[in-house]
Amino acid sequence: MAVCLVISLVPCKEAMMKSKLMLVILVVLTVLSVGAQQKEIRVLLANHPYGDLLKAAIPEYEKATGVKVNVESLQESQLTTKLTTEFATRSSTVDVFMTRPLQEAKMFYKNGWYEPLTDYDFSDYPKNALDVATFGNKAYLVPLVTEWEVLYYRVDLFKKAGLSVPTNFTELEMAAKKLNSADIAGFASRGKGAAAVTQLSSYVYNYGGTYLDKGKAVFNSKEALDAIRFYGKMLANYGPAGITNMSWENIMPLFQAGKVAMWTDASVFYGQIVDPTKSQIPAENVGIANFPAGPKGNTPYIVVSWGMAIAKQSKNKALAADFIKWATSKELAKRGMLANITMARNSAWKDSEVRAKIHPGLIATQEYAAKYGIPYDRPYMSAVGEARDLIGEVIIESINTGGASAKLESLAKDKVAAVNSLLEDTGEYGVY
């Protein structure tokens, strides 16, 4: 349209020119009107195995419905950035998007960016998965993928050293000590401050602590600090060099290169670890075991890491609702499972074809975590990004001192106060 307006402003006296111009305008208008007739939606996906799977499957949807789906794929933090900027400036044309419930749902809900999903059948989802999708009595997102913390280990190295798989922290430390050598790190887990918060959570739970209790920060409790000290000691003594700048994207290549004997992280990475195009370790040498128990039992996190939602600002809500039903369908969930993606739907785990194909370690650890796990892996609050950085400072101090820091208590106390003031700023202090 803009083109036509600009062109029509220019006075063209000659008749020839005029008729040519009319032709151009006609052509442009025709193209525009044809474009308007085609139904379109804009979908933002994450660079996540399920996002990739959807992207590959979308042509089927387009063919079946005639709706054109404009897909954009972004790295997870850039996805949050993009959604936030578009929604906050009220300029968004996003219809459907992938979203991280624990990271952004509270904030998105508060700002009114999610469209409530009143017409969706949630009967196939576990209750704790729906907890994080629901605000008040309405659901705002469809749980897609669940993750829980597991212990990845090298079967061959364990066999060679005559070790059995550790079932508690004491055994974990002994195994790490025995497997650690100049060439291979005995143990790895995320050390990069904020990124480590999620994987540390299971350690904190198993020591009997937690990040937030009744809407107040409590990660300076003795239990939580014991966990942070243990985590720091393990990484300082048996972790790869430079661990305080490492998240999963740095540890995975080391594991794939055979430089790590044990690794605690999210279950979602199994598919990539054993991918023969990326890994030098044959799949039969990679084991998955339950996260080891701590002094207070074993309650690892199991969370909905990804969900899918409709944007409140969407102008194509009917199309968006139809798309989200397809994108979160049983059929696609099964396809996800067969691609080693751990889906949230109950039925996906019961499917016999899936159970025959998927790694038994994945099924066993999922069953354990679903039964005993805790549905949070980070402080669940609006200002979670900043809170993770603050907890991250305590983690890094612990790693840098091998868990022996004399000022860990006072540092943690300061950070607890800082997280509490964040909770106060957002009206969430003491609210649960």
Binding site: V10, P11, K13, S77, T80, T81, T84, T85, A88, M107, K110, N111, G112, A185, G191, K192, G193, P240, A241, G242, I243, T244, N245, M246, N250, P253, L254, A257, K259, S382, A383, G385, E386, D389, G392, E393, I396, L422, D425, T426, G427
Partner: protein, 296 residues
Amino acid sequence: MAIKRPKGSFLEKNLHIIFPLPAVVFVIVMMLFPVLYTLFLSFTNWNLTSGMPLSIVFLKSYQKVLREPRFIAALGRTFSFTALAVAVETILGMIVALILNREFRGKGFTKLIMLLPLVSTPVAIGIVFNLFYDPTIGLANFVLIRFGLPRQAWTGSAATVIPSLAIVDIWQWTPMIALILLSGLASLSSEPYESARVDGASEWQIFWRITLPMVTPTLLTALILRTIDALKTFDIIYAMTGGGPGYASETLNVMAFKYSFEYFRMGQASVILVFLFMLVLFMSLLIVRMRKSLEL
């Protein structure tokens, strides 16, 4: 003009407005507006995590942010990173320019190769250097060990992260300084050199007393460009460390990014950006001043 246009045509009358209009509109929309809007935001408490609409708090955000130890530390890091990177780039750039100013075989090819870092995408550079620096499987430590030197943590330790990042910046931007200086050197007349040689000056004296003073205006131009750019460095740092370990490589720009897109404190992030803007402006003015006083 060969064809006479009718007088009084709208276009004809307003050519002086219409022709520069796209540029003016571009500057207003893409440059002036964002700066003014950021300035406006810096006086508000806009915070997306609270879910509240923004309200104007005047200097409150300034008081809060400018006093924070994390801000002071980031400011210091911005300077130390810039000083380290630009100083090494200038010295190395000068050496490279002096070498390239001589005739030798393969000079054109060398110049071409030198352009490559300049045209590479910073994020891609960051990813490649991250692999290079990896303490366990990276090439950097492999080379160090081969030469019997101790392993380094590179970007993995608070003590070495800033120099490690500066090395990447130096790798990328030394060629630019060298090329600018080379153009300065090429334009120097040969007369002073000839008379100096007749008088028996050493090569060192020639460089110190003749080349350097004559190339100083060009050198300062290169310095201004690089300093402004280095103060604003974001892409390499964000791609390689995200400001870590902890906050050990967090410069003002990285901090502002985290404040806006990870903490969603838009008002306070704007304070940091306004401060950075003033800082860059002040530094540029200072160098321009210096340049003028040297030319007098």
